[in-house]
């Protein structure tokens, strides 16, 4: 067991990621707050439909409606990206688990999946708020919405599956398989809902193109939320390891008695 541990370096609480975790958390809080402030105070507004006149605001001529709802986008897209990165990490640790059969990697995979679920829920919330205001409905079967709904359902099913198997080894293997399948399934889902030319469901296209200030704000938010995600991952991982050590200690004490 010890020799095996020497071959495969196992993630453990207190290693280098934990030493940088407080700094990263601080950076995450600062950057996401900065991103939030930039989104509302610095980035140029986005205009929508035209109005019947022109008005001079802050030195430029404006003839379109101001879209405040677009500000949701600065957190919505980074949150979605972070959720997908967390999903990719969950699948990576799942592969490591299947190759080494070390319970530790399963814990990593589980925690990454939890972070993915958290950020998927955040994505759904922000997306729903924007959809509700802009399109006037709570739900449409638009490719991105559909993909995220499916992703959320798979992640929820993953946790139900974890709790429905009693043997730890088996539960770990099954969840590893599902997290790999989820990572494969989600891009296919997006491709399929996007590529099929559908005359039944209108695909809503937003006029694209980001200005430089929008890009910068988005990057700051993304970086901040990545840091927050990482800090949450480490905190949860440490907590899980502590609980596992408590369980192990209980067992040794019971054996001694």
């Amino acid at each position: 067991m010890k020799e095996k541990a020497r071959e495969v370096k196992l993630p453990e609480s207190g290693q280098w990621p934990d030493r940088i975790a407080p700094v990263v958390l601080g950076a995450g809080i600062v950057l996401s707050t900065l991103g939030f402030l930039l989104a509302f105070l610095w980035v140029g507004p986005v205009y929508g439909a035209s109005v019947d006149g022109v008005e001079l605001i802050g030195g430029s001529m404006v003839s379109q409606m101001l879209l405040i709802s677009q500000k949701i986008f600065y957190f919505h897209m980074p949150v979605a990206i972070v959720s997908f990165i967390a999903l990719a990490f969950a699948a990576y640790y799942a592969i490591r688990f299947l190759m080494t059969k070390e319970q530790r990697f399963d814990s990593c995979s589980q925690v990454a999946m939890e972070v993915a679920l958290l950020f998927v829920i955040c994505t759904m919330i922000t997306g729903e708020m924007w959809t509700r205001f802009e399109w006037g409905v709570w739900w449409t079967w638009e490719p991105r919405l559909t993909t995220y709904l499916i992703l959320m359902l798979i992640v929820i099913a993953y946790f139900i599956l974890r709790n429905a198997v009693d043997e730890p080894e088996r539960s770990a293997t099954y969840s590893a398989v599902i997290s790999i399948i989820a990572l494969i399934d989600v891009p296919i889902c997006f491709m399929v809902t996007r590529l099929i030319p559908s005359s039944i469901h209108p695909v809503v296209l937003r006029e694209g193109g980001m200005t430089a200030d929008m890009g910068i704000c988005l990057a700051v938010c993304l970086l901040g939320l990545l840091c927050v995600g990482f800090a949450l991952y480490r905190a949860r991982f440490n907590q899980l390891r502590l609980s596992q050590r408590v369980e192990a200690m209980k067992q040794t004490l019971e054996e001694q008695q």
């Binding site: 088996r170 099954y174 398989v177 399948i181 399929v192 590529l195």
Partner: protein
């Protein structure tokens, strides 16, 4: 002294498949229950559509209803396909034999697909018979055979992996549905699109039939490869 030659993978596959088919055709337990279940789903659709006006509009939803029928029926079949293996301890015996687990997967997936296709061959004509008063499919309607074949292959492939997982869990029937429906969603979407295109015909047909079919086939290839690789870990656990 000569050691007995190890049978080839293909021979193993044939033996396992023949075993499954023989077992099923002797009792016809699963085929009958799937067939009756499909009929019951059609009855439920009949109630649901009892106030619908006959007309071309029905064609646009009929493919979706047809696939709902296929999904529910296949869920029933997939749930049953492993439960009798577990009940009689057959799976353990099978895994003790010096077999490649990939062969077990392929044979099981093939038998699931054969049963699904048999049930579909009965249920789909029945579906059109019962709803022929509402609307008739376009001339290209027979092309829906292609998405149904591609969809059945995919459902059997990923469904076999998932039913092997869920057969060992608590509340396995619900668990299978929980995993199966979201994971198979892209395939379902592509197949519904292709089937609708075939039934409605015209411009829609030319526009989206081939794309949808190609995407469904792509899903099949990727997911069956992934299931084939992962199956070894699943049965080994």
């Amino acid at each position: 002294m000569e050691t007995p030659k190890r049978p080839s993978s293909f021979a193993q596959y044939k033996t396992l498949l023949a075993k499954d088919l023989r077992q099923e055709f002797r009792t016809r337990e699963m085929l009958v229950s799937m067939g009756v279940y499909a009929l019951l789903v059609i009855v439920v659709f009949g109630v649901a559509l009892s106030f619908a006006r006959p007309g071309e509009e029905f064609l646009e939803v009929s493919a979706g209803l047809l696939w709902a029928l296929i999904v529910f029926t296949s869920l029933l079949g997939l749930n049953r396909s492993f439960s009798h293996e577990i009940e009689e301890g057959c799976l353990e015996g099978l895994l003790l034999a010096p077999l490649d687990h990939g062969v077990v997967f392929l044979s099981k997936a093939t038998s699931n697909m054969v049963f699904l296709l048999i049930v579909e061959a009965i249920a789909i004509p029945l579906y059109w018979l019962f709803f022929s008063s509402l609307a008739h499919p376009a001339e290209t309607g027979w092309l829906m055979v292609a998405p149904i074949l591609v969809g059945s292959v995919g459902i059997a492939g990923i469904g076999t992996l998932l039913s092997t997982i869920t057969v060992n869990t608590r509340g396995k029937d619900v668990m299978l549905a929980l995993l199966f429906v979201p994971i198979v969603f892209p395939l379902l979407y592509a197949c519904v699109s292709a089937t609708t295109a075939a039934i409605v015909g015209g411009d829609l047909m030319a526009e989206s039939f081939m794309v949808s079919l190609a995407l469904a086939a792509g899903y099949d290839v990727i997911m069956i490869l992934a299931s084939w690789v992962l199956y070894d870990f699943v049965v080994g656990a």
